[in-house]
């Protein structure tokens, strides 16, 4: 079985990537707003680690889908 991404799936991957980037920006803003508050700094730091995993699993894929075939 091979699951070549169809157009709808490729669009979904790109849309998820956009949402990940939005969340990343929002978390950075929150971290900045909460600078000096351990609760905010540590929790936003943890969220950033999970965002990195999402980028690894989704954004890298979106990037390669946006590139022309080699």
């Amino acid at each position: 079985m091979s699951l070549e991404l169809d157009l709808a799936q490729a669009d979904l991957v790109r849309a998820m990537n956009q949402k990940i980037l939005e969340i990343e920006r929002a978390v950075l803003e929150l971290k900045e707003m909460g600078r000096g508050l351990p609760m905010v700094e540590k929790n936003t730091g943890a969220i950033q680690s999970f965002i990195r995993n999402l980028k690894f699993g989704v954004s890298d894929l979106a990037d390669v889908l946006n590139q022309p075939e080699s």
């Binding site: 091979s2 699951l3 991404l5 943890a46 990195r52 995993n53 699993g57 890298d60 894929l61 990037d63």
Partner: protein, 444 residues
């Protein structure tokens, strides 16, 4: 999620075609290389003169030096600024987890993980566990105190993350662990192959049939798992048994899918090269044996570039009935540092395990020792049988074992049997192969 996608942790990535997978891996390799050069003193030195932009294809990787375990040990000799020496890739204050290698082959290497890098490892393990069929409905029992060793910690956190209920089983003896498996109704086990066999043996001594304890799935870690041992575990537990391969330094970089035939490289988390055993400069062809060289592509607290795992594997193809596009390895045959010459013959201890577990179910435990006997190397095997046997039967068994080992290894073993329970049982890495030649030379 569409039903055909439910077997994947990340279906779009796992079923991606090879060309795209490799493009992602090369991009991440360049980023990881740039990070390592900027943040790790070790790689600033080692990669001087090499630039990430030089890496445009898999062939270009071969120009970069390999990182050997000894390089890591040397880089930790100077601990004046940090116990991690020159290996640390982040500010020391960012390290949240200390792990270390087992020290089987020398001084242990300390491995620092930041929260971010640790979560990256956990994500890799989520892929592994999901691929092996672990789900939210599983209750996973881990019959160990994990100490500073990494695999069961990774398994613990990843199982929790994907929604399993995790029951840690440290600080209990083996009977206590079996009672706990029954008490909580564990459906999954993470253990070393050796300990999986020992648990089953102990259960039988308690009058229990391991097949009736309710364990449906087992993931093995910490030791090689030859096919014969995996089959034995599946038979005695009545469970699906999964293997993976990895190490403390690089993380787990290949694992088994539900087909349970060979292992998938965990792409694109790692860039894995399978290089020829002799020169370690050329990628081997499908079906050939080679040594695995691994670059983890997302860990920043302990960056590694082209780490020589010394694991000897048989390169497989890509494509699998499970639909994953990753490259496969068809078998793990041992480690280059476990291969040794005895009387001029290249010997791998895994061969003995494969013969005994595959062909002699009456043997429950064994130990192989090599020592100098005057000018010659002598190799001996001691074994225990599952049940008491007559003298004649043991004699006949010794002869059959000797014949099979001679055929498989081209070596004649001195073989003896010992009473049940005489040989040590291991929970983590076993030490069934003892090469005393250098040691005894040194002592004399």
């Amino acid at each position: 999620m569409e039903p055909q996608l439910s077997g994947y942790w990340n279906p779009y990535l796992e079923t991606l075609d090879r060309d795209k997978l490799i493009r992602i891996e090369l991009k991440n390799f360049r980023e990881q290389m740039a990070f390592a050069k900027a943040h790790s003193a070790l790689y600033r030195r080692r990669l001087e003169g090499f630039e990430p932009g030089d890496i445009r294809s898999l062939d270009d990787l071969k120009n970069l030096p390999l990182t050997e375990k000894e390089d890591l040990r040397l880089a930790q000799l100077d601990q004046s600024e940090s116990i991690y020496g020159d290996l640390l890739g982040v500010n020391p204050a960012e390290v949240t987890t200390f792990r270390q290698t087992s020290g089987t082959t020398g001084k242990p290497v300390y491995v620092p993980e930041s929260y971010e890098s640790w979560q990256w490892r956990i994500e890799v393990w989520c892929h592994i566990l999901w691929m092996a069929g672990f789900r939210e409905t599983d209750r996973v029992f881990i019959p160990f105190g994990y100490n500073v060793y990494v695999a069961f910690w990774e398994g613990h956190y990843a199982a929790e993350k994907l929604g399993c209920e995790v029951v840690p089983g440290g600080a209990l003896d083996t009977k206590g662990r079996i009672n706990k498996i029954i008490e909580v109704g564990a459906t999954g086990l993470f253990n070393t192959p050796t300990y999986g066999l020992h648990l089953a043996e102990t259960a039988r001594q308690m009058g229990l049939d391991p097949r009736e304890l309710g364990v449906r799935r087992m993931l093995c870690a910490g030791e090689p798992l030859p096919p014969a041992t995996r089959s034995t575990l599946e038979a005695v537990w009545g469970a699906e048994v999964y293997d993976h391969i990895g190490g403390t330094e690089p993380c787990a970089w290949a694992a088994m899918c539900r087909e349970r035939s060979g292992l998938h490289l965990m792409e694109p988390f790692f860039l894995v090269e399978i290089l020829d055993l002799e020169t370690q400069t050329k990628e081997v062809e499908e079906g050939e044996l080679g040594v695995a060289v691994v670059t983890p592509l997302g860990r920043r607290s302990f960056p590694l570039i082209r780490f020589n795992t010394k694991d000897v594997v048989q390169k497989g193809g890509h494509g699998c009935p499970c639909g994953r596009g990753s490259m496969r390895i068809d078998g793990v045959t041992g480690r280059t540092d476990h291969l040794t010459k005895i009387r001029g013959v290249l010997f791998s201890p895994v061969t003995v395990e494969e013969v005994l577990r595959g062909e002699f179910p009456e043997i429950t435990e064994y130990e192989v020792t090599v020592r100098k006997e005057r000018a010659m190397d002598g190799i001996s095997l001691r074994f225990e049988t599952r049940e008491e046997m007559s003298e004649d039967s043991v004699k006949e068994l010794r002869a059959r074992v000797g014949e099979r080992l001679k055929m498989k290894t081209n070596l004649r073993f001195r073989i003896s049997s010992v009473p049940l329970g005489r040989l040590p049982r291991y929970t983590l890495k076993h030490k069934r192969f003892k090469d005393l030649r250098g040691l005894e030379d040194h002592e004399s």
